[in-house]
Symmetry: C2
Subunit: 278 residues, 2 copies
């Protein structure tokens, strides 16, 4: 683990990332040691910095990432996949909530890739429809900031690990995303994913898939009744790829879905990216 280019395991108790969640993060897949979609992740980070009033020296950060991965090759390379997490936190200082600086601490940590991704991609997952509703906050929507209590609360809901993801709605019962994934559904033969201008995280995998599918996919709101009529549903993020949802647990029942051609196409696209990462 590194902080600002130096090996470290801890951060100051006065850091604003800890005090207020005043910061951002990214989790980036390392495929054979190489970061996948690094530019897209750094682009979202930059956008988050602009939104929160943080300054990031992108060249410096990229240099640190390169050095960090090089120095930890012996940990990364024995596995085909690993995860690099970047955290940016606003440095301490300021008068309470009012920030006195745009400067960030740059935190790099290394994590094992989830072991169940491939199995879930092949066989699909059981998902849980959360009762928790996301608040609408356009000023924070889309970016991957450190205020994640909504996701923490939503992911307490399912009873055991037979569920691999929770689906969360907004307060008007519109579908937004999974707790750690974005969601696509095929409704009336149309591939849809919700807009994220009021809540949710605009995932890199979602962005890549929207680009990949082009005019075949549409960003469009749909509520949970419409989702239940879907021909197929899948969730995705840049670490686990694409997981078809084959069963959705509702309050007292559950609904089953087939794994469909869009999910398989999305998975093939992801695999082709992984095969050609440089």
């Amino acid at each position: 683990m590194w902080v600002n280019g130096q090996a470290a395991t801890q951060l100051s108790l006065l850091d604003r990332g800890l005090a207020y969640g005043d910061g951002l993060f990214e989790t980036i897949l390392l495929q054979q040691g190489k970061p996948v979609w690094l530019d897209a992740h750094l682009g979202r980070l930059q956008n988050g910095c602009d939104r929160l009033g943080l300054h990031i020296d992108r060249m410096l950060l990229q240099g640190e990432i390169t050095a960090f991965l090089e120095q930890n090759q012996h940990l990364i390379l024995p596995k085909s996949q690993a995860v690099l997490k970047i955290m940016l936190t606003r440095q301490s200082g300021g008068r309470g909530y009012r920030a006195a600086t745009r400067l960030c601490n740059r935190i790099l940590t290394l994590h094992p890739a989830p072991s169940d991704s491939a199995h879930n991609a092949t066989h699909g997952i059981k998902a849980f429809l959360c009762q928790f509703r996301l608040a609408q906050q356009p000023k924070l929507a889309g970016i991957k900031h450190l205020n994640r209590l909504e996701q923490v609360l939503a992911s307490q809901e399912w009873p055991d690990d037979s569920y691999q993801e929770g689906v969360v709605l907004d307060r008007a019962d519109y579908v937004i995303e999974g707790t750690r994934t974005n969601l696509f559904a095929v409704i009336n033969q149309q591939l849809l994913t919700p807009g994220l201008d009021q809540c949710g995280v605009n995932g890199i995998m979602r962005q890549q898939l929207l680009q990949h599918f082009g005019k075949q996919a549409k960003v469009q709101a749909f509520d949970y009744h419409a989702m239940l009529e879907a021909d197929e549903i899948f969730v995705c993020n840049s670490i686990v790829g694409v997981w078809p949802v084959v069963s959705l647990r509702l309050v007292a029942t559950h609904q089953e879905f087939a794994i469909g051609p869009y999910a398989r196409q999305a998975q093939q696209y992801f695999q082709s990216v992984l095969d050609h990462v440089d």
Copy 2:
């Protein structure tokens, strides 16, 4: 600074308080070294723990607070006032957002009391009506959790330190609170403070004042048009006490208010508490 009863300056990079803002805090006024309204603060902390699914050993925490204040007497007692901050963060572990433990780290830090409280209490403050709107999230409303980006963003809005506080509304233009205070307004001869079941922090000072004023005060929603018609407005928290608002900056203009009898009565009540803290 202490973590779990031991002197420390840092916290693990893997702590969930840092990663997700998965935790709570309290700031408690120390008057002549003695914590003011400690039981009420610990009560709110306990309520927050219940809401977030955290476990806190209150006896252990109280013992640590006593020992921490005793050991730091030489820093605290030369000043008549200081501030004790308690942070509870969920310990690391779990699979992403989904928590694996209810156990907390207990962080105690000491801070100087703000130097401008008495001046602002006497003369009143200039407040700024923020454009930022609070999201409605009943599952997090009222408690003092570590997801405070809304307050960070709102408090970036005013241009300089001639403003001492920002007033924040919800998305329907109802008044909720100050960025770091609760708000009371006297409208049609009635002392009102907004309900906080959808957003906002239920401050200890607010709770104490509602108790003090009894039937004279009402918890009732009012929008910002109604606030502009107020006979008096004041903001409060348990550190700074009661600050009358004598000027409210709107987009292109500002509105002035007189310091009224309710604010003065609230200040007298606060002073009597400080005079008799044991």
